[in-house]
């Protein structure tokens, strides 16, 4: 199947909204172990990640470690973001890895787990990622670009125990997140 055809209804279980953990938390700085995509725990966690992402304003991706679970999966949905070019809608990938990454560009990133800071990070804008669907375990290859590529690299970094802070371009590339009223 195409990843764009997948919906969280395919998981067959309702998702619960979980609490997002913030840095410094050890689970965010530790590589997450690979998972069995067919296990009921992973299917439930996939549903929970989507549910938590949906209720979080501006959230375009959420990795399992961000809800305190050391497991190599994440949810992504950039479909309503203005910087998006290609979008595959809502999807969850287990054990995902970058196959090919080209055309790096700098962009400003934030993270629900680092709510007070943003940073400029260079990411590939053409990206090929391979991963497994939760439930069926089917292997899929996702080719994407622009903002979805950035989101996928950010989430795969989470699974490797890295925050965007570990990728920022320099000492003047982190910024306090301002809320102007």
């Amino acid at each position: 199947m195409s990843i764009a055809d997948w919906t969280e209804a395919d998981l067959g279980v309702p998702g619960h909204v979980l609490t997002v953990v913030r840095a410094p938390s050890a689970v965010l700085s530790t590589p997450s172990p690979l998972v069995d995509p067919a296990s009921p725990e992973v299917v439930q966690l996939a549903a929970d990640l989507v549910a938590t992402m949906r209720v979080s304003p501006g959230c375009v991706g959420l990795a399992a470690c961000q809800v305190g679970v050391a497991a190599h999966l994440f949810a992504v949905d950039v479909s309503s973001h203005p910087k998006t070019r290609t979008s595959h809608g809502t999807f969850v990938l287990c054990n995902a890895e970058v196959v090919e990454a080209t055309r790096k560009e700098k962009g400003r990133e934030g993270c629900m787990s680092v709510p007070d800071l943003t940073g400029d990070v260079k990411r590939a804008t053409r990206l090929t990622v391979r991963g497994l669907l939760p439930g069926s375990g089917e292997e899929l290859v996702v080719e994407t670009d622009a903002f979805e590529a950035r989101a996928l690299q950010h989430e795969i970094d989470h699974c490797g125990g890295f925050l965007f802070l570990d990728r920022v371009a320099g000492a003047h590339a982190i910024f306090p997140r301002q809320t102007y009223q």
């Binding site: 410094p24 007070d116 125990g161 890295f162 802070l165 920022v168 371009a169």
Partner: protein, 173 residues
Amino acid sequence: MSLIAVTVIGHDRPGIIADATAGLAALGLNLEDSTMTLLRGHFAMMLICSGDRSPSEVEGALAPLAADGRLQVSARAVPEEDGSGHGSLRPYVLTVHGGDRPGIVSAVTGVLAAAGGNITDLTTRLTGDLYVAIAEVDLPADADADDVAVRLRAAGEELGVGVTLRPQETDVL
């Protein structure tokens, strides 16, 4: 021509830079490098200016800035630095993040110093419990960067903080 280093630090308000630079301009001084930021809400500026004036003349011209006691101003003569003589160097970016505790920066920068690394820029931020330090570091060309990264991570693990060291990407167009 001599160089004078000026620092201004204290309570932030609109107009500090306008007032300080007006005082320097009135003395005919030329602003060379400068940096300004807010550190935990405090105004903090350092600059180097050049001209035929003494540090005491500069402090005198900037005295109105410090008149209400909420800003500290200092001016000191500094020698010319030619910026060369450091041999062959490679630029890296260092990130440290983790729970706040005393000694994080000293432990990590001690590893860099032992490897001959020179920090050329440093920003640290404390937000809530999260402490973040980002440094730009020049390592000697013959330094084993992978080995330095391993030692940095080991120093970080002792403090319970994550440390990454990666080459700085520079695009020359």
